[in-house]
Symmetry: C2
Subunit: 332 residues, 2 copies
């Protein structure tokens, strides 16, 4: 009998399979669950309060390479990535953080100290309490973080509530982090990079959760998602979860000056913008009535499409429909 390996199915399918499997188990009667498995955070209510939980795992050689990122930046990134999930729920205050570390015994002390420093600095930045710190020996560096947040308002912005006619907005440029990691692949960490290239690499290694942005605009939004898996994947999720479709106007997706300087080919730029992961920008929907207000609050935002009834996400470039096929994010 031939063994079936999970490498034979693509990773998203595997994760979908697992998620569906786990989700089925969740249909227990629990009236306290406000947001179930499958959103950026899980949320349950207790008394009048809402508790939000999100959990992420970063694994060496899967999510980062040790030589490609400063350990302090790695610590910062691990926390920012988690906060990005909190930001994606709207007005939630991150309160308690649990840090699980797997550390190979050959790791240098200086690496560990810098890693902690990065973790701590970012916990302080968000005024979080480190509530647990479990450290175990491992073959590879593993950073497993759970953040607990508390809802500040009654309104939760989910990824399943986009409405027909809503505009689709982005907090900033897409594709930078994906291009950054490709530079590291191509030229390694010791290459002399120019300032545009360094910008792209910093977007990969030193992302910032759009936490303040979320607080500033979330109450006006109909739906919100953290775009950690890239534009294409995240817009699809938002449309699918909202049971809607969308038209996307590719030329409106903002591309940074650095990406333009480093990647000259226009269609390559677009590929990065659509499929590059880890920008940790937010994608949201808002009614046309409030679109102008949002842009005033946060001038960096761009509107790139509109929600419709079709249940399909269609892409257009200068008015002409373009078939866009998912070309996955290459893992390390």
């Amino acid at each position: 009998m031939k063994k079936k390996y999970i490498s034979s199915i693509d990773e998203f399918k595997l994760i979908d399979m697992i998620k569906n499997d786990f989700t089925k188990l969740n249909l227990k009667n629990d009236n306290n669950i406000i947001v179930n498995i499958g959103d950026d955070c899980f949320c349950f209510k207790i008394g009048q309060k809402k508790i939000f939980i999100t959990k992420d795992m970063l694994i060496e050689n899967v999510h980062f390479k040790k030589n490609w990122i400063d350990p302090q930046d790695l610590g910062k990134k691990a926390v920012e990535v988690n906060i990005s999930d909190i930001a994606a729920m709207g007005n939630v205050k991150p309160k308690y953080i649990f840090i699980g570390l797997g550390i190979p015994p050959t790791t240098s002390k200086i690496f560990i100290k810098k890693l902690y420093k990065g973790l701590k600095m970012t916990c302080d930045k968000y005024n979080m309490v480190i509530a647990g710190g479990d450290t175990v020996r491992a073959d590879k560096i593993i950073i497993s973080i759970t953040t607990i947040g508390i809802g500040k308002t009654n309104k939760i912005i989910r990824r399943n509530n986009a409405r027909v006619g809503d505009l689709i907005g982005l907090t900033n440029t897409f594709g930078d982090a994906g291009a950054g990691v490709d530079l590291l692949y191509k030229y390694g960490p010791k290459h002399k990079y120019n300032k545009y290239e360094r910008f792209l690499i910093s977007k990969q290694n030193n992302p910032k959760a759009k936490f303040n942005e979320s607080i500033m605009i979330s109450k006006h939004l109909t739906s919100l998602i953290d775009a950690s898996d890239g534009f294409y994947v995240s817009v699809n999720l938002l449309a699918k979860n909202s049971n809607k479709g969308a038209d996307i106007y590719i030329e409106k997706i903002p591309i940074s000056l650095s990406l333009k300087k480093v990647i000259k080919n226009k269609s390559e730029q677009i590929k990065y913008a659509l499929f590059g992961a880890e920008d940790y920008e937010l994608i949201f929907t808002v009614s046309t009535l409030k679109a102008k207000l949002i842009k005033e609050i946060l001038p960096s935002i761009s509107y790139v499409g509109r929600i419709n009834l079709s249940k399909k996400v269609k892409y257009f470039y200068n008015g002409k429909e373009k078939k866009v096929k998912y070309s996955g994010y290459r893992h390390f």
Copy 2:
């Protein structure tokens, strides 16, 4: 300059270093924190309710070997280990569980299915909702679990409240799981084991959290700790955290028939009972007044020592003091 590697300091010291480091960060003013980092669970209050959180990570070749444990048992164990931390807080209801999995792409589907089955069965056993299921690619199998529990009473039983004169009790025998893993080291998973050996191995591979036991007795206790790191380490923690000392009467530590049959040498039996890890029994303290009641509720318990003012943990064997030196739990 010589690099300092963390393998040069022992793992407990490293973990202490990290914990102290993390704990220092915790001295923010947060009146909602009921149990801070360093206990079996972290606890904060929200309104009138108490929320408990515990997080554990199991890593292939560090906490288990893939060929030594049935994947279904591995799934069960991952959850039981987490519930053991919940049990150690007294009367807490585990509610929501977050399962982070790292899975190597070469893992067989049957392995994954069995792993899930074990995870699910145990979540169902405790009537928990799977609230998050994050799955990523990894070189080795990683199971990172966070459980959220809700306090059922106002009383929390901590590890820092043992009182002078209290008796020290154990829920059941010690040393079995440690002897079980040593058998696997010695003879491998395919050896023909006798029933006593199989019992010891099952204690290693198929532990059960003492959750019901905790519910039955915790309200009468002064302190409580999950003995996952073995008797010696856990009693030390309980005494240290309570700012007390203890006399331990070694001959009273219960040793299973199986351990006696497999390990003939008495002093070897004692070593397993003191230093063997992963029995997931509870160690507790109780006033002499209530000791008999506890034994009636739970006949499996044994009293093995008494709390005193000395701040030292002393060991006695048949009335004579014995110097006991920590001989650490060998990791995989």
